[in-house]
């Protein structure tokens, strides 16, 4: 009697699972489709640039949060210095363009690779002992980078460098960056998805739960940690190289703030670190909240307070983030479950 029932239910389960996958594909596909088409509206609508700007930032933050999630969420090692990768990307592409005339769209992937290389060596040193030492190292790294860049005359020191507008008419100038950031966001989320559904990702999760047991179970914890950290730098570096040109200037005080690093953490934690869709949800929400706070409260000091309060509230009451909490209660919409 029971055998029969389970047969039936397994069958319908696969059907349902199949449905879920197709449903998800349609959902994601249509959203991407819309996003790709949006810039077209610049030909017939006003004020499109504002939306392009917001969406562009959202894409960038999605990429940043998803990347951070790889080391902070999957592996459980909190990095507070991820902005270093932004700076590496930004300065590499900036200098390549200013001094050698190479377009950032070419150097962007290289910026990503350089970030990975840096992440690899940095991880080699700082991932040897505990998570506590790692957090400390990440803070020290950011501060050290800031001091070094502030005194790096070749890179412009504290004043940084001015990067010219790319040779595109003003009305359309946001469009290339829009697509670049969209591509970066998709890339980062896709990488996050692939890692999560791999043996590597499984190992990372084991490390985040109990590193000693993971090591005992034969997982090469040190290699995995370093790889996760290095990978987490790629899209951040690429985003950094684009960002500098979008802002048209590079400055240590913009790229290397602790606050920006805090925002990366907040987005992931808010959305649900350790999940694939969490950072995406968190980034989107964060952009909205940030816009609200900036228009309502204005000054950056209150922004800092708000970031802290929001982070504390999420940590104390919803440590699994939005996606994680909803999932635990079985209320997560299927289209958002990418784990």
């Amino acid at each position: 009697m029971t055998e029969k029932n389970s047969e039936v239910s397994t069958k319908s389960k696969t059907e349902v699972l199949g449905k879920i996958t197709t449903k998800k594909k349609i959902f994601i596909g249509s959203i991407l489709g819309i996003l790709i088409l949006i810039p077209g509206s610049v030909f017939f609508a006003d004020n499109v640039n504002y939306y392009l700007h917001m969406l562009l930032y959202t894409f960038m933050f999605i990429a940043l949060a998803s990347s951070w999630n790889m080391i902070g969420g999957y592996t459980g090692y909190t990095s507070l210095g991820h902005t270093v990768f932004l700076a590496i990307g930004g300065y590499l592409s900036g200098i390549a363009y200013l001094k050698f005339g190479i377009s950032p769209f070419i150097t962007a992937p290289l910026a990503g690779l350089l970030s990975v290389a840096f992440g690899f060596f940095f991880g080699l040193i700082s991932l040897r002992t505990s998570g506590a030492s790692f957090i400390i190292s990440s803070i020290a790294m950011v501060l050290l980078f800031k001091i070094s860049l502030d005194h790096w005359d070749y890179g412009g020191g504290t004043g940084g460098m001015y990067l010219p507008f790319l040779k595109i008419p003003l009305e359309y100038s946001k469009i290339p960056f829009y697509y670049a950031m969209l591509l970066i966001a998709v890339g980062a989320v896709y990488m996050s998805y692939r890692v999560r559904h791999s043996k590597f990702g499984l190992g990372l999760r084991a490390i985040s739960q109990d590193e000693i047991k993971a090591e005992a179970a034969g997982i090469p914890t040190k290699q995995y940690k370093i790889l996760a950290f290095a990978l987490s730098g790629f899209f951040v570096g690429v985003a950094g190289s684009m960002w500098g040109f979008y802002l048209t200037y590079l400055r240590p005080s913009i790229f290397l703030t602790i606050l920006l690093g805090a925002h990366m953490v907040l987005m992931s934690v808010l959305g649900g670190k350790g999940t694939v869709s969490g950072p995406v949800v968190g980034a989107i929400l964060f952009i909205g909240i940030n816009e609200f706070f900036v228009t309502k409260l204005g000054s950056s000091e209150l922004n800092i307070v708000a970031t802290g309060v929001l982070l504390a509230v999420v940590l104390l009451f919803f440590p699994a983030g939005i996606v994680g909490s909803l999932k635990a209660r079985g209320k997560l919409p299927e289209v958002l479950d990418w784990d």
Binding site: S130, A140, S148, G308
Partner: protein
Amino acid sequence: MTDSTIIFQLLVIGVTIGGVYALMASGLTIIFGVMKIVNLAHAALMMIASFITYFAFTNYGLDPILSVIITIPVMYLVGVIVYKVFFGSLEKDARFGELTVLLTFSIALIIEGTLGYFFTNTLRTVSVPYSTSSFWIGDVFLPKGQLYATLLSIALIISLWAFLRYSKLGNAIRATMQNSTAAQVVGVNIEKASVVAFGIGIAMGGAAGSLTTYMFPFYPSKHWEWIGILLSLIVLGGMGSLAGSFVGAILLSVTATFVSHFFGPTWSVATFFLALFIILLFRPQGLFGKKMEVK
């Protein structure tokens, strides 16, 4: 000035600053030892004490060194309140450590933002006669202000050590630091030990915050620089070791003073961070630490 005089001079300056760093680090060390978390908000909390001292001085003329009498108990209370509000409800589960560190991060942000909002980021400092005058020993000068600060710091550190060694509560805290299960088993209320330890740690930081008002210019966002320095100190000394943080503080402070003299003041801060990475490379457990279990 002969070379050896310069070296001796730099040593003197380094040691007299190092004492204050050691005081700051001692609070961090206690908190780490008992709760096994890195308190990223330590320097931000110190900043509160700095502001208290600053306003007590500018409005009432209270000497910054004397203000320590106020800031120690006040910051102890602040520490207890912060603990109860933020950490009191946390369960001691597996994710305790990492979650709590992020929580201290958020506390730091809240403090920085609040202080920045009310007091803006202008550089402030307290000018007292002894902040610029010195004793002279032969060719070498001993900055008065720093000397006083270091002497007071050492006195406070010794008091802390004595408290931990000889008082019942101090022993309870030490026991919790060394083996929290065993401490529970002999009847120590480790929750209470944690609260008190946190309070004491912040109180130590508060004293340091008061002392630094006349030694360095301060502003709300400077706490990241401080915490970077302090964290490097305790990693060097071996996390959880009071002796280690003291030695680490003096060593790094002296080194930074030399770097400042030969390479310029802006690089002296970088010294701490570089030292951190060097230590992690060659002796990750620090000078006095045990091999830390991973996470």
